[in-house]
């Protein structure tokens, strides 16, 4: 994919990464702008589309897995922030690092096989490098996760009720009866009919939608401040998906939690998210409010995603897929990771797309909507060429 001549450049950036815990883009930004405080302030501004104090704040997160074939940089210099009561959707294709980054927030990576740098702050407290015991106290209590596949994430040999009660007991010094009462309450809350009977049943006696409800009940039993939902509805049918999304929305209104929603379905994003972060090959390529990113996207990859979806509301002519395949994380293309697939790279003067990694910069010079692209006239290209095709 990348020419051999470019490869040393890539290796160099990677090396810097490891030492400074800073992505190439930020290093370059800093070099240009001089004092690091200025850079920091600028980034703070752009970090948080809502402007509220974030509950979860991820800064320059890098996750690498050394493997026999080389180091896989699954996540590279990722920064985002989620305040309480807001939903951030992380969008991307498989292998873009969306799940890996959120597993880092939960501290679920194997310490021996993973190198995590950067900072993840929960309500102001750093959790990168925290001891396993301390992480255990956070996990399932302040932060909880709803997984994609409720079939494999519930234990088949324990009743659903006991699994929910256990999640409560781990974090509260109460009797089993109290925990059971709490579990019943949760089952009722997530709309499972006849909770008393359901409490005693095993996961196989639940339907897919019911299981996902039970997973959500388990995730919310300790009133977490942050819920990470990793493709919570991908395994479900549309009518059930609608029920689960409504449920998540209502629960968020009630408890005011922050939600990180990981998904590849832009329709779900449009309905659920306040903010959207688009990932490609381990990096954030566009970040802003849902309105900004989905209605005024400023990055060719986001355009490509939007153009390749056939929608329910319009019979499109021919789909315009993004050509080619996502790159291997072992050997990222030099410059912009998206350049081998980008139909607009000829419009950038010289070879910048293949030599320099674009920074994540505000699209209109100042605002909170940022994108990573060298194109100068992104807004006009979108309005003139892409938007008409979207209908």
């Amino acid at each position: 994919m990348s020419t051999p001549a470019n490869e040393p450049g890539t290796a160099d950036t990677l090396g810097k990464d490891g030492l400074n815990t800073m992505s190439g883009a930020d290093a370059a930004a800093q070099a240009k702008r001089g004092p690091s405080i200025a850079t920091r302030e600028r980034r703070q501004g752009s970090l948080n589309p809502s402007g509220e104090t974030p509950y979860l704040e991820v800064t320059d997160l890098t996750v690498k897995f050394p493997t026999a074939d080389g180091v896989v940089s699954a996540v590279n210099g990722l920064s985002y922030a989620v305040p309480l009561g807001r939903t951030l959707a992380i969008v991307g294709e498989s292998g873009s690092g969306k799940s890996v980054s959120s597993m880092a927030v939960m501290g679920l990576h194997d310490r021996k096989r993973t190198r995590i740098t950067g900072s993840i702050k929960l309500g102001g407290d750093e959790i990168v490098g925290l001891a396993e015991n301390d992480l255990m106290k956070i996990r399932g209590d302040a932060v909880s996760m709803v997984f994609q596949d409720p079939q494999s994430s519930l234990h088949p040999l324990y009743t659903v009720g006991s699994q929910i009660a256990e999640a409560y007991l781990v974090h509260h010094k109460v009797s089993k009866d109290v925990a059971k009462k709490r579990a019943l309450e949760m089952l009722d809350l997530v709309g499972i009919p006849n909770p008393i009977r359901r409490f005693k049943q095993y996961p196989h006696e639940f339907s897919g939608g019911m299981r996902q409800r039970a997973m959500i009940a388990m995730g919310l039993v300790n009133d977490p401040k942050l819920v990470i939902a990793d493709e919570p509805t991908t395994a479900l049918d549309v009518t059930v998906q609608a029920q689960i999304l409504d449920l998540l929305n209502n629960l968020q209104k009630e408890f005011g939690s922050a939600i990180v929603l990981i998904t590849h379905d832009l329709g779900v994003v449009a309905e659920m998210a306040d903010d959207v972060l688009v990932m490609y090959a381990g990096r954030c390529v566009e970040y802003g409010t849902a309105q900004d990113v989905l209605a005024q996207p400023r990055m060719p990859y986001t355009w490509g995603l939007l153009e390749s979806i056939p929608t329910v509301s319009a019979a499109s002519e021919r789909l315009r897929p993004i050509k080619g395949l996502p790159p291997s994380l072992l050997n990222l293309p030099s410059g912009c990771s998206f350049n081998p697939r980008c139909p607009y790279k000829d419009r950038v003067k010289g070879e910048r797309c293949t030599t320099d990694l674009p920074e994540l910069l505000p699209v209109d010079g100042a605002g909170a909507h940022t994108s990573r692209c060298h194109l100068h006239d992104k807004a006009s290209i979108y309005e003139a060429e892409v938007a008409p095709r979207l209908g």
Partner: protein, 351 residues
């Protein structure tokens, strides 16, 4: 077979290529009941009928467990139907023995959902694609490789890669291999069972376009099984909506999407998350179904959808609604509901 086929309307002028009549698939199961065992049947598909015109494309939509895949498997005779007819160019293949079926197997091919489990990991791509060629004696010895490479090129893969194993390809590329395998025997009908649901969005569009090209250039008819309503709207001329083993509504694409008659179709459409909302398209009215799909072992009496339907009345429990043309529906648009009425505001105006 090689002349390009224009989009055919469902009320096809020509004789249908494939006619399915009252197809049923009942799987017997044993269940412990007290000390003994009772025999019950899962009514996976219960009386499905449709026509497929040459070069046409029919979408089968519905939620998991509604019998859409089972229908696809019966048409390709991977399953033998309990009852009903599958007429391919006038011949009923529903109960044919394996030997008599052989020539028809060539005409009806299937592409599976999961590009990982549907390719043998220990065989080279060339072997996978050429097996059907050998089975049907389609190519002379020594000419096989040439044909395999031609097919690989046709589906957009590098012909040089014929010696590779499936694990060397990505999901989208594997799905192309699956399509090449189906194409090898020059079928007239391809049953595509959720062909893109395991793929990433950008890759999904590539595979959809490939299938569209095949339909246009080779005149292959498609039965397209999917749960993604957007994908079906994009690909199919006719759409049949299934619920619990039965077709509840069937008709031309535009009718189904812009003026659905059956409450279930309306619920499906309104539940699909729509990107349009963010671009200023007014939010559609939500219909939220409650509960789950009932078990196909003991389906509700009368209309099978009545347990989740907001329009249900007594007649729904006692009398099964027939799939028929409703007073206010367009030509070829049928619905099985006592209280069918078109609802036009579920999807935004077509672009």
């Amino acid at each position: 077979m090689n002349n390009p086929v224009q989009d055919t309307t469902p009320a096809a002028q020509s004789t249908p290529l494939l006619q399915v009549r009252d197809l049923k698939m009942h799987f017997p199961i044993k269940e412990a009941a007290g000390l003994g065992r009772t025999r019950k049947v899962v009514q996976a598909v219960d009386g499905v009928s449709f026509d497929l015109a040459p070069g046409g494309s029919l979408g089968l939509v519905g939620e998991s467990g509604c019998g859409k895949s089972t229908t696809g498997r019966m048409i390709t005779r991977l399953l033998t139907p309990t009852a009903g007819q599958i007429l391919f160019k006038g011949t009923d293949i529903a109960q044919l023995k394996e030997r008599e079926l052989r020539p028809f197997r060539r005409e009806l091919q299937i592409v599976f959902q999961d590009p990982y489990s549907s390719l043998n990991p220990r065989q080279t791509v060339s072997n996978i694609i050429s097996t059907p060629l050998r089975v049907h004696n389609l190519v002379k010895r020594g000419k096989e490789l040439e044909r395999v490479q031609e097919l690989l090129e046709r589906v957009g893969l590098n012909p040089e890669h014929h010696n590779r194993y499936p694990n060397e390809f990505s999901g989208g590329q594997r799905q192309r291999i699956g399509i090449a395998r189906a194409l090898a025997v020059e079928p007239e009908v391809i049953i595509a069972d959720e062909p893109v649901s395991a793929l990433d969005v950008s890759i999904q569009a590539q595979v959809m376009n490939l299938m569209e090209d095949l339909r246009r250039d080779l005149g292959i008819a498609f039965v397209f099984i999917a749960h993604d309503l957007g994908v079906v709207r994009h690909f199919c001329d006719t759409v049949a909506v299934m619920y619990l083993g039965k077709i509840v509504e069937q008709g031309p694409r535009e009718q189904i999407y812009t003026a659905p008659q059956h409450p279930y179709t309306q619920a499906l459409l309104s539940a699909a998350p729509d990107l349009g909302t963010i671009r200023g398209v007014p939010a559609k009215e939500r219909i939220r179904l409650v509960g789950d799909v009932p078990s196909p072992i003991d389906p509700p009496s009368g209309c099978r959808f009545r347990t989740r339907c907001w329009k249900a009345e007594e007649i729904c429990a006692t009398q099964e609604p027939l799939l028929e043309i409703k007073p206010r529906s367009a030509a070829g648009h049928t619905a099985a509901c006592h209280f069918a009425e078109p609802k036009v505001d579920l999807t935004a105006a077509t672009a």
